[in-house]
């Protein structure tokens, strides 16, 4: 087990966001964290690497209590990809070199440069390495951010909606690169996602969050229409197309019935 979180509590402005959440992540597996907006997915990720300090609970990574570690020690264990990304005024190489920051004492060593080169090659970014980050497309920039997290040589990756601003092709590419990195290097990984179909296709396990707690912990095969209704309040059909399970939402049933389509046509 690479990460174990027990009884996490986090309040934001007096509002409970996490209420006694438990979670464990395994080496070589990607765990998806799904749930409605405001369920506490991003908060959970930030509590796991102590960008936010949970008011109660313990997070252990590789059997070490994070609350007893400094920022750089945590950064050597956990790579984090934030949801909102900045385009830093650096070259791709320098942007990924930042991932070596927790390891750099005074100057980047030749080992640091080697790691960066290896990660750039792994992510297919090598031809872009000397270009400014500001000149990249959205998909390329997202790969840079993931490459930076990998350059930390972490034991665990936490990613907050890494595909939310990407087109279809880039979504698949990023997920496949991630999957490969996690499998090849035996990392643990947790990914916040909104796209259930992407989750079904690529993830090993799925945590469905509801009101700051784990509502269900399942494998993609175990997802049912019932669970989707309970978590999202949406009626859905689960189908199988060419060996892939897919979710087809029908309507947001427990609230209002959908309006007739003619009202949208103008």
């Amino acid at each position: 087990m690479t990460l174990e979180a027990k009884d996490l509590h986090f309040n934001y402005n007096g509002q409970p966001v996490l209420r006694g959440l438990n979670l464990s992540l395994e080496h070589g597996e990607i765990t998806g964290i799904l749930g409605v907006n405001g369920a506490g997915k991003s908060t959970l990720l930030r509590c796991l690497n102590r960008i936010l300090r949970p008011q109660k609970g313990v997070v252990m990574v590789e059997d070490r209590d994070l609350s007893k570690l400094g920022g750089e020690q945590i950064a050597r264990l956990i790579g984090y990809v934030a949801q909102s990304q900045e385009r830093e005024p650096l070259s791709v190489f320098d942007a990924v070199l930042l991932g070596r920051k927790p390891h750099i004492k005074w100057q980047a060593t030749s080992h640091d440069l080697e790691v960066v080169t290896r990660v750039l090659t792994q992510m297919g970014l090598e031809p872009l390495a000397l270009r400014p980050v500001s000149s990249l497309s959205g998909g390329e920039a997202q790969k840079v951010v993931i490459a930076r997290a990998l350059a930390q040589e972490p034991h665990l990756l936490l990613l907050d909606e890494p595909t939310s601003n990407l087109d279809l092709r880039n979504q698949l590419e990023v997920m496949e690169l991630l999957m490969q990195a996690v499998r090849d290097q035996g990392l643990g990984a947790a990914v916040c996602l909104h796209d259930i179909n992407l989750a079904l296709r690529y993830l090993d396990r799925i945590v469905l969050m509801k009101q700051g707690q784990v509502h269900a912990l399942i494998t993609p095969e175990e997802l049912t229409a019932d669970i989707i209704r309970q978590v999202y309040g949406v009626e859905a059909i689960l189908a199988e197309v060419e060996g892939h399970r897919v979710v087809i939402p029908r309507s947001a049933s427990p609230r209002k019935p959908a309006r007739p389509a003619t009202q949208y046509a103008t």
């Binding site: 050597r76 900045e86 830093e88 090659t121």
Partner: protein, 372 residues
Amino acid sequence: MKHHHATLPAPVAESLGGDLVSRYGAGLRRRYLILAALAVLTVLMALQAIAVGAYDLSPYKVLLILLGQGEGAQSVVVFNIRLPRIVAAIVTGWGLGISGLLTQSLLRNPLASPFTLGMSHGAAFGAAFAIVFMGAGAVSTSALYSAGSGDFMFSSLYAVTLMAFAGAMAATVVIVLLARMRQMSASAVILAGVAMSSLFMSGTILIQYFATEVEIATVVFWTFGDVARSNWREILVLAVATLLVSAYFLRHRWDLNALLAGEETAQALGVHVTRLRLLGMFLASLLVALATAFHGIIAFLGLLAPHISRRLVGGDHRLLVPCSGLVGSALLLAADTVGRLVVGSGSLPVGVLTSFMGAPLFLYLLLKGKRL
């Protein structure tokens, strides 16, 4: 835990990698060369600046005099009149360049600088307050100053410096709180700086009603910066502070780089963002306070230097920290020398020239509206 990285056959990856690392290294070396060239240029400019003036010398002659090979009158001109002013310009320019870079990087705001955030005006107000209400500006024979006639004599250099620091810090605290408390846009923070600048300026004018004529003259001196009245004691104080602050941020250049990728990312890379920001703004205020207490408000220099540096060496703080200092030095030295030559009496304050350079850049940045 074992890490495998077997996405490409090892020889292929190595040949690609080796090539990339050497190309990357070449690019980095080129930027360090630009930095070195700038340093050489600044030294040459300084020699030339010592040479020109009412009493003309050749740069070669200047070099000889500096090495102790000069005659009486020439040595006096160089060591007592020109050198203090030129060293003051270099040190003050470096300090303002660094503090400008710090405000921009730490607040992630390209429009930020000691001048546009109201820190300079705060410092000037503090200095004026000390002179008028704390008797720090009284003309007295027991003055700390001993150099030539134009000097204002302070019974207490410390009171002025301390109050200047308090003034600069007051502006800084407001800015840091505003930038922190709410998700304010870069330009909104600058607007707050403008408001504070006018507040401090009005305060400085108000103070003048309670002042004697000599005190007023002293206070007015602060409103347009000038390095003409410099003495070695002040230069030393500012140089030590500037050196320490520069060394600290050279040590933390990776933290500043990490901040470029966003606050959350920086935190996840192990940067203590709040501590870095608060300490950095505190140290920037210290440099601004010292520079302003000794030389008055030098407008826009802290805005100009980092932006010119980014054009020269890019956004990497490994180069940006020394480059912003150097560009600040070169700019202030150039402005002072031009001011000295254009007006024969040597009385065009550098603040006037830096304003002429800085205000258009500020407008351009405002129009471009980009976040750092």
